[in-house]
Symmetry: C2
Subunit: 401 residues, 2 copies
């Protein structure tokens, strides 16, 4: 018997989900998944038999000494740690457990096909099936300890914001401001890496600091303000463009505190805002408030998007809501946690009902060609009877320069 710890409680919950979902075992290999159940980000494969009768095994691919340090904090039992770089050890363990065959779940959205093929060869008696929905479903509702880390993550944004107020002025480049922001964020505790769930997604760890025409040049990597980067080799992030009086600026960064994200964005203007800039910003804040007012348990992901879109339709900027033309996104935000882009995305046809404990980045924006963009984003916790922002970060059309 093992005393209940953070790790063993999470694993027991997954073991029940596996049994109910028709899986005989799970093999987790992806860093965020393994970290959630064990506390380590070292390369490892985690075998979890369905039901409570059989013990899991963490096959450490490398660096067992680090793994043993990491699991102390999570309470993953040391007796469950094993060595094994290949799937042969997994096959042998399944046989030892009396599991000769059945259905094995892996996170197929993260498993490369070449590994899938070698896993299938190592386990000829097994049918392989995707279980990412089960794991992501469990991770969707955050525990209080996770929420606390996410509050800390959201709080990091303040350091970047202060760096912008101090550095942004006419003549300085997007890249130069970004470097000042990055230094402030990192010294405040921001990790350098932004893990994403979607296979082809990438976001720069400095965040997106974009100004002027960079605001409406939307890279294909996201239907949002992406920035254009310094060359086509990495077509996202800050560019060498220098700030000019009158520029709108958006800073959007998923801050990472000990593996957990907060996602926050604010809008700035170089010098006093024009009436039109103020009007667009106020319209964005209006959509934001309408969305937050509807954010409570029971509404679906799609339902929240519909509320936001309806609010945007009442503004003069409806054609620019979440992008424009063929670059208009249909979403108002997404869940976040151990990966920046967790499900559910708040989009049409996503019927997931929102539940207490979900953590959602709400991010209305208008992206207006020839004009700029305005954007407000904070990360919210769904509570029993409504919602609560994870960090009170002042929101305004901030004047810089």
């Amino acid at each position: 018997m093992t005393a209940t710890t953070m790790a063993t409680a999470r694993i027991a919950a997954l073991q029940a989900l596996l049994r109910d979902g028709g899986f005989d075992a799970a093999l987790l290999h992806s860093a965020a998944d393994v970290f959630y159940y064990t506390g380590t980000k070292q390369p490892a494969n985690l075998l979890i038999p369905a039901g409570a009768a059989r013990e899991p095994a963490l096959f450490v691919r490398r660096a067992r000494d680090f793994v043993e340090e990491d699991i102390r904090a999570s309470g993953f039992p040391r007796a469950w740690v094993a060595d094994g770089q290949s799937f042969r050890e997994v096959a042998a363990r399944l046989a030892t457990l009396g599991l000769a065959g059945g259905t094995l779940g892996t996170s197929e959205d993260k498993l490369p096909t070449s590994l899938y093929r070698s896993l299938a060869r190592a386990l000829p008696g097994w049918e392989l099936r995707d279980l990412s929905a089960l794991v992501l479903g469990q991770r969707m509702v955050k525990e209080p300890g996770e929420v606390e880390l996410m509050r800390r993550a959201c709080g990091l944004f303040a350091a970047g914001h202060e760096a912008i107020l101090a550095a942004a002025r006419p003549g300085i480049s997007e890249l130069e401001v970004s470097l000042a922001i990055f230094a402030a964020l990192r010294l405040a505790g921001h990790e350098e890496y932004i893990p994403m769930r979607r296979w082809d997604a990438y976001l720069p760890p400095t965040g997106t600091f974009a100004s002027g025409e960079s605001l409406w040049r939307i890279s294909g990597h996201a239907f949002t303000v992406t920035g254009v980067g310094i060359s086509p080799a990495v077509p996202i992030g800050p560019s060498l463009r220098r700030l000019q009086a009158g520029d709108l600026i958006v800073y959007d960064v998923p801050t990472n505190y000990r593996g957990y994200f907060g996602d926050t964005a604010r809008t700035y203007v170089v010098g006093e805002p024009s009436a039109e800039q103020r009007r667009a910003f106020d319209a964005c804040v209006g959509v934001y408030r309408a969305t937050i007012a509807a954010l409570r348990p029971g509404i679906t992901a799609e339902g929240l998007f519909v509320v936001a879109r309806a609010a945007a339709a009442e503004t003069p900027y409806a054609p620019y809501f979440m992008g424009y033309g063929d670059k208009q996104g249909a979403y108002i935000g997404h869940a976040t946690g151990l990966e920046q882009d967790e499900p559910p995305v708040l989009s049409p046809r996503v019927t997931t009902p929102l539940r207490p404990g979900m953590t959602l980045a709400i991010e209305p924006k208008f992206i207006i060609p020839g004009f700029g963009a305005v954007d407000v984003e904070d990360t919210w916790l769904v509570t029993e009877d409504g919602c609560e922002v994870l960090h009170e970060q002042p929101n305004d059309l901030f004047v810089v320069g």
Copy 2:
């Protein structure tokens, strides 16, 4: 007919390789592969029929305007650009081309299993097979234009080196020095992103700046000096450790210029080096020189490793060559290019003969618990009759502080 351009020449070469390899077509989806043949890093799927008779199609998943800008430089024909976010368009195009079935190659080391399954569903008449060895084999031998970009990438290291000489002193943290290095590299042209081929690999875009005991705490993410990071959530990269008089320091960074890498490392000491530090560094340089002296066409990847290991065996530091104990790596370097970790790795059982045009990072090191680490790395071009360093970066046991 299309005039021969960089893109069409590379595609024609792959079409011949596909035909000879028994493939009827290739579908490339991974960013570095698509970039190599088209010049764009926007999300897109590239369909290339085998042989010269049929035309390729670039299915743009998003941001066609950026794609059309990007392909102008590479000469990928605009007539080959198509819209299509899913595999349905690919299936329809194959039918239009008169290809009802056969063998379709994808880069299975990069294709998530969930995409493999949907591709298999969209193309019921097709057998899917891995072609990554074909594509990586073609990319292995660099063209003069690629070598030129890699020279520029290697040259970026000088900016980071100068930043270390200016910033490193007792009392400053690894993280603080890293931020100074990162700012210098980025302003010199370094991209923020380090694409890796291996599915679970990650390296921080600031590079690895590690000192003192951080040098022998080797994360499982690589058998090298990794640094320990600021928390177990990203257990690699600079830490909050403060430099002390007498510390050894290693700085190792894959610099990225317009998508191409140079990989360089140097060793530093805080204050005057001790006799033992000097001796270990000189031993490392000895292994480096012996390896470079053997680097020429015809020797195999394994052969070069054997030379290096033999040179290391003649020093007092053999047990610490490329790590120690269960963290001792068996390699002396790796190819680099559009991804930091391209094949071949210079390891036992890798029988690839080295050929003119290959670009190889050579990186001997000794990692000595309780003492530190010494490391020298540069990126070399294999020439017709030997080799040539891509950038002449001074090498010494540099004194800082």
